[in-house]
Symmetry: C2
Subunit: 192 residues, 2 copies
DNA sequence: TACATTTCTTAACTTAAGTGAACGAGATGT
DNA sequence: ACATCTCGTTCACTTAAGTTAAGAAATGTA
């Protein structure tokens, strides 16, 4: 399972055995059961998560309603956005399936960065890549209708539609569960 | 005008006079007239822009329609998202007002990063901050209706509503110009 | 197994956004 | 000075999403 993490890192930098051992000794691997809430609204959220296996989601509670804004599956990295407000989060992070993830906090990152300057480079590359991906996603979301978004998701992350509850998918698409049901019926209608 | 850039940089790292001079000698400052298209669909887009004064926007052309997805004003940084596709862009970048910006490309950044390791740190911090901001924006967009988005914009970037054409603002909010007109009328109605 | 709870779907109705067309104000050009 | 164009708004109509409620299916629990 550790190899998955090293495979991921190898996309950005090359690690020596020493460095690999340093990472392993940090003890960041974590097995999480479905339903577990990793982060609650209002908690300090300086942790980053990296999904080795399974699925976690980010959601808000607005007017007593859950609004899911992101799903993270295999090889996805979740970075906190409290870099700005400097503290507590307005969102939740929960485990959708039994998962294996890594959990790291800012302190650990700073320490590792100062020990191995290489890590600074990886962090920059990763941030830039995530930012670019995020921008593309955002632009696609803005420029398309709910139906197009669903069809797009069907292309890009077909697994999500299978492994995630419909009502969570709906809010991820920016609509209500009932609308998603209708929308899917409409698409089936068209295909026939 | 250069001082604005250094003010911005000073949020992330402290520059020596030598380093400042190195930046100035790069000759990255650029004055751009309203209407100028900085980047066309299909062009290689490895340039980053930083707005010192004025306003630039990013847009797509989908089914012969302009879809504006972002505005960048004073102290905003626009980073390319072709880090992924490795090449040409699907979007346009145009100048909304007469502006003063800096233009830098990946090569220059790499060179500066290797000369001054400090820059690597700034780039990481900036990327992380932009990513965090972007995530918050995206989440807000997803979890709110067009009307809420407009009211939110009115709070956060009231200047935009004044300085930008309505039809561009509409697509930025994910709706048609007619809907924006109606929505505004509806809000006025409520206030009375 | 039986019961409760959650999740998904369907339906009827309401509300808001999309569409196509028209109008007027302001800017631009000849 | 006149024609043209762009832009924002308004209107009537269509389409799709929100809302409320009900019931079926799946899941979890005693």
């Amino acid at each position: 399972m550790q190899d998955l993490l090293f495979d991921f890192i190898s996309k950005y930098i090359t690690l020596t055995e020493d460095e690999k051992n340093a990472i392993i000794s940090l003890n960041i691997f974590c097995s999480v059961k479905k339903g577990i809430i990793l982060l609650r609204e209002g908690q300090k959220s300086q942790d980053s998560y990296f999904v080795l296996k399974g699925c976690i989601r980010k959601y808000y509670i607005i007017d007593d309603e859950e609004k899911t804004t992101a799903f993270y599956t295999e090889m996805d990295a979740l970075t906190p956005h409290c870099v700005l407000d400097g503290g507590s989060s307005e969102y939740f992070i929960a485990c959708v399936e039994d998962s294996i993830i890594t959990v790291t906090n800012t302190d650990m990152e700073m320490e590792t960065n100062s020990k191995f300057p290489k890590f600074e480079i990886m962090c920059r590359k990763l941030s830039e890549e995530l930012l670019a991906k995020q921008q593309i996603n955002f632009d696609e979301f803005k420029t398309s209708s709910p139906e197009q978004r669903y069809l797009n998701l069907l292309q890009k992350r077909p697994d999500l539609i299978q492994r995630v509850p419909q009502h969570q998918l709906a809010s991820y698409l920016g609509i209500k569960p009932q609308s998603l049901s209708r929308l899917r019926a409409r698409i089936l209608e068209k295909k026939i």
